[in-house]
Subunit: 330 residues, 4 copies
């Protein structure tokens, strides 16, 4: 029975707390959040301890593993502290917005033989898993192209955007991780095009709301990513992989299978699931279970700090490409 | 080059005339219709002769085959006259609304060694053909159940209904033919339920607008048919066959593949094709070509007068079942 | 916090126990099963008490509600005992295979002002709920036809079949309940056709494996049900409702959205979810929550013993129709 | 009645000849091809004249319009000759592989007030038309992103590739035209990534088989194109447009609506239509009719030489980008 603490009682912390509490092989011991009543409320919900002191929590002997769901700028410090305290860590993405800090953190965790998993939840989505499994079974043969469409239902608050690191580091970073995971090779070349079609005032932050990215690996495999901060039709998450022997597509999820026929249209389907909390509910649950299994089984982490670093590097390179109008070699 | 005359210049006659004119192996020689300017207009369209005398047309030496698209009550007389004149005949369904007249006609055509095809166009729909072909290839194994959904976009004019022979003989007759064709065995038992949910005044004609029929063959195969005279969403034509080794479905057709995502719905598809002239355009064309090939190749007619008779018998039995509230043995 | 005991530790009891244990507003107190180690194993899984004495469990003061998931022939006795002990009851379907026993039980529960819900789980499937909600919102206008396809992935063991009450009472009974629920009116006429296309030796039990049923209500609404004990392609559960203003379809569920393109086919989808435990997982969970909410809120049960009785009556009438070859008035 | 000659009796000439012969408002007068028996065979099929002298054909007084379906390197000369002879021209794409020749031709045709349409057939595909119409009706609001997937079923012969101008000018040129047509604005920036994943020996021709292109317009609209010379699953042609108020997708076409359920997969659909002759059959027919209507109605050509020139410019820029590894400004 893995004993777990969750740091951060925001919306992502609440997901991890629920998964830790409901997982049959883990015990949610404590929830820590220095701000407001978040920890108290969340702890009450699951019958565990609440604290406003994350650092003290890391020192507790009755805790084996921590999930870090605090603000991004605390990820590195808390991760290192947890590693030093001998805890296994599941850290939310991104590790940090600054690649040099990430590099330092990766090196330090390595030196300490720390066990850290970065929370790229989408890899654990059942449809993503089915796609990867089919590829691993050789069903589409040699991979040629990957296409990822990733559009949010609506833009985040202006204040969030300001500190987000920009669309590439905040949003597309998930798609960069999926790209690497599906390509099976590191991208060596990246070209990004970025526009402000929803909110021109994003120029103030050198940020964008609508982007397209192309990646290429050394062997010539290609990947296209398109992202947008808003749609009129919900949270759009699709993937396509095309290989010598076939093609695979993943569709969006809906709350029901209902299809409607009327005078105006036929076979209209239900709205897409609201946003990432709903869309990736199963992914978060499975991610946590993979973390647990890796920790308890003393196996390699399914997503490493290196993975977190590489995704950030691609995000940095994409931003550089978009701002300079040049293809960037990674 | 098969030389063809089309009798009847109504909407069904116009389809056959077009197919005869555009078929590379037939020549449309004449169009005959005693009423109004129909024949003249249609003949002008295709550059052939027009006449108001169908009977005289049947005697012409420069005609090998005739398509009979006149009102139902003239089908038998014209068919017999054509057969006596040595012409091959493609006769619209139903042969007649009176089974005894149909029986007599079948016998007489047989006696004369006449060559008559009954125009059950739906068998020649590309999707129906693909379904039959898959079944013939053994893809679904031993057949168990057939389900046919058949709904018109809107009810016919009251005057048409009055002389139509009722929904079973006028509309469901197509589905009875499809049922026999897909079942591969004769139904021996039929149970029909009939309602007036659109127009209660149909009671005056002992007619109905919404019906469900179940059929069973001697070996136990089952078929369900549902029909309605109107929908809000267009002309609905679907079929399902279920066997020991699989299931096949045929969907409706649309004018384009466009799918729409909006705030209200996702993946909404285009309206269904308007009605039978549009939905079965390819079926009519292929039907005519099969008729031509059978006539010129001196091969068996792909749909026989016997087929026309059996469909009518099922329609009669369905009406009897609906009116009596009993299961009827055929 | 509703305190719950689960009677029966078979596969259906295990589902209810899990739902009672995981529901945030209920507490699973005990699991009772007189046979083998079932109760012990299940109780260990959820950290509750185990007992081999269901009757004693009903008398416990620390239990508010019981879920009855024992063999069918114990349902009535346990339900009545529970009601007498003042417990709210969620009883698995069917209440009993004998309509006279069901009638007596319904009367007795009424006399005792008992609170009993019958577990027709399919009503709580998210897609069924979405369909019903759309109908309630008037989206398809006046209902005309309902079509239910319900096929099991494989036949049950011969010994199960022997005591099952036959396909109509054991399997189609779910569809009869859905029919009533979707029709919104009681069927008054039923016609059933039944075959043995998979296992001819079912004749020994006067049972069948492949059936079609048509139902009609007093106002003329129609419903078709097709059932089969086995398919080659999995557990097939589809529903269609057709009304004056539109049509709604519910599709099958799959474990992922993956679609495959290859040389042999295009857009092939994943297998269907294995069987009812997987397919109706969400339905069972929601059913339990509705039971809890009704009990705690002192509201009407969402599915009543009367519903259980009516479904059985339709099953009896279907069997009578199939055996007699007659339409049966209900 | 527009009198038409078709130059070139290859597979594209045969399509145009059929459309000219079957169109009710045009008359196919002659087919001209200097090589072999092509013209003779094709003319026999449609009952028109055959000649081996295209240039002489252009001088005939009984011809109003010509369709040029000859090899690419003859397009400019024949087009200019036809224009000088006062004929309207429907010229196959590309106008030429050399942009300077194209520029000169455009200028000369303008000077002569010639009437030339370039045959970008895909614009006339029913689904493309439905997409454009929906956009024009404002259904998706301000356009943000366009995604075009375009993959051939198999690679062309090596000898064809050698003289094709390369994948961008030969194959992607269609997609560049669609991109311009859907974007509604000229691309100003292009970035292309190109690989040889099927046939490494294409290096000899500085050609590629698998490419990805991103385009951006001055207002920030974006377009992604992916192309491949071969798939295992047929001719893949899909388009997506995403705007502020919605999204539209166009799917592939199949010969029938049949869907198959079996043990291995569910809802598998039919293979895609073989290649462009089959997939764009309706598009070619409609394209020809638009040409006819524009000529006879003295209206603007629906696709101009300028369109042909712009698509080639994008192809040139894409090649430059792929070879240089730089983003190219157009």
């Amino acid at each position: 029975m893995l004993r777990v603490a969750v740091l951060g009682a925001g919306r992502i912390g609440r997901i991890h707390a629920a998964n830790a509490a409901l997982n049959r092989n883990t015990k949610l011991v404590a929830v820590a959040d220095p701000f407001g009543d978040g920890a108290k409320t969340l702890a009450a919900e699951w019958g565990c301890e609440a604290t406003t002191d994350p650092l003290a929590t890391l020192q507790r002997a009755d805790i084996d593993a921590v999930v870090i769901g605090t603000p991004t700028d605390t990820h590195v410090a808390l991760t290192l502290e947890a590693v030093r305290a001998g805890k296994a860590v599941l850290c939310e993405k991104p590790i940090d917005l600054d690649i040099s800090k990430v590099d330092a953190a990766v090196a330090e965790v390595e030196r300490l033989n720390g066990r850290v998993m970065v929370a790229f939840n989408r890899r654990f989505d059942p449809s993503a898993q089915a796609m990867r499994k089919s590829m691993d079974a050789g069903e589409i043969g040699e991979l040629r192209q990957v296409i990822i469409s990733s559009r949010d239902p609506g833009p985040p608050p202006r204040d969030y955007v300001k500190h987000s690191g920009g669309i590439f580091r905040d949003m597309t970073i998930h798609d960069f991780d999926m790209a690497r995971w599906l390509l099976g090779e590191e991208p060596v070349e990246i070209s990004a095009s970025a526009s402000r079609l929803i909110d021109p005032s994003l120029e103030e932050f050198e940020d964008f709301d609508t982007v397209m990215v192309n990646l290429r690996t050394a062997s010539g495999r290609q990947c296209h990513i398109n992202c947008c901060r808003a749609t009129s039709y919900g949270y759009d998450q699709r993937m396509e992989v095309f290989g010598a022997d076939g093609m695979l597509l993943n569709e969006n999820l809906r709350a029901s299978t209902l299809r409607r026929w009327s005078g105006a249209y036929t076979e209209a389907r239900e709205p897409l699931l609201n946003f990432f909390l709903e869309r990736y509910e199963a992914a978060y649950r499975t991610e946590f279970e993979h973390f647990r299994a890796a920790v308890e089984g003393n196996k390699a982490m399914p997503v490493t700090m290196h993975d977190g670093r590489q995704a950030l590097r691609l995000a940095d390179a994409a931003l550089e490409s978009a701002l300079s109008g040049r293809v960037v070699t990674v």
